[in-house]
Symmetry: C3
Subunit: 175 residues, 3 copies
């Protein structure tokens, strides 16, 4: 039996990370913050620090800028909840390191389907604005969309956050 994954989608500064954290903290037991930011990214380091300042003693942090499937499989366990923040940053890292996105996406979905404990995955909705002229940006939006579709298909629950307010897009009772 696998534990269900929840995908939390939202735009920039939509409150999605904070909402995801509140979901994780509503669970009993330990909380693992699985950060996908690369350490050398200053703006992201600041955001991680902000997140850490909000979190308390129940939390530990694991950094996984590239091998998210491996880190998630290791971190997931009964009695603790993993927060992955965020998938778009992971995708950006994969592209920056010339990894095969389709392979990594499939690895992540396989991991999610066999997860040993609950996980909440945060990701940025980036595809509802004007189609970017820049070919790389367009490719990124395409890959983000494919990733969201794939993760949403295996997740038990999908929530879209707007202005801090959650809308449930999918909720399959866990059996």
């Amino acid at each position: 039996m696998s534990a269900p994954a929840t995908l939390v989608l939202g735009g920039q500064r939509s409150g999605k990370s904070r909402y995801a954290e509140s979901l994780v903290e509503s669970q009993p037991g330990a909380c693992v913050y699985l950060a996908t930011a690369e350490p050398h990214d200053g703006e992201m380091a600041r955001r991680i620090a902000e997140h850490q300042a909000r979190r308390g003693e129940r939390w530990s942090t694991v950094e996984a800028p590239l091998d998210l499937p491996g880190a998630l499989a290791s971190a997931a366990a009964p009695g603790r909840t993993v927060l992955v923040d965020c998938l778009t940053l992971w995708l950006s890292n994969l592209l920056g390191h010339d990894r095969d996105v389709a392979v990594e996406r499939a690895r992540l979905c396989d991991t999610l389907a066999a997860l040993a404990g609950p996980a909440v995955l945060v990701s940025n909705e980036v595809g509802q604005g004007v189609i970017p002229e820049n070919k790389l940006a367009r490719a990124f939006v395409d890959q983000a969309g494919r990733l969201h579709q794939a993760v949403a298909a295996v997740a038990g629950r999908v929530v879209f956050v707007t202005a801090g307010l959650p809308q449930t897009l999918k909720d399959i009772p866990h059996t």
Copy 2:
């Protein structure tokens, strides 16, 4: 009595076309794929080919890059369902050929209001990102928004797709 039209909106790579296809295939009878892509567009030709590869023998294809209202009126009939993919591409073609968008939008809505059979129309949500600096892009987003409002007003059903998951925005029982 007119047959109802369904508008399927969604961001880039949101799974909107696949969802719209599944709606069409859930209907009995023949299926018509009304493609608005211009043949010379390489990326779009590839996408049409991808779509065709997914579809089976129930489908036929009609190309209508500019006269969508006329093609839709001809294709619609009791016992078969038309899939229009997509309205944003049609809008882009109208603008590229200096057609009067307001006139064509009104023609499309008149056609939808008097449709002889069911139709599902796909379109790209492009207006929920940062407002583009480029004046042409801003005009395009404006026109897309006007088109979506007008089509949504005559459609019996409007669905928004995110990460492959549909949300119903409007559903008026067909009488």
Copy 3:
């Protein structure tokens, strides 16, 4: 006892202003249009004129490009409804005049929490597209997201408009 505020969010040309106006006009009594556009902005002047042309004799107009909290506190009263159109323009004005956005955001939320009459506030969803490369645009999207979260937290009702169709994100009965 404070009267509830409603936040109406939506993308560009989503029909959010028209929907917000219909909400205001469904209330009894006078209607105040609180415009945040700066007079020198031609495109915005045109939009204000369009809005005015749509509105009838029940309406009066107040311009408040910078001191929105003060103007809103003055305009709000039992028996009349204030329409604020729109928050993103106000934010843009604050940034253009080097005002402290965090201070102004807090002033607005304090005003909303103590409002003497009903108000409907319109704002542009700008954070669901690709993350802008331009640092200023990214900062604007961040500030818009923070503003929406803060206003949504004090508003009694939050509605998201897509293609002219409203979705309720929050609705707390007024006591």
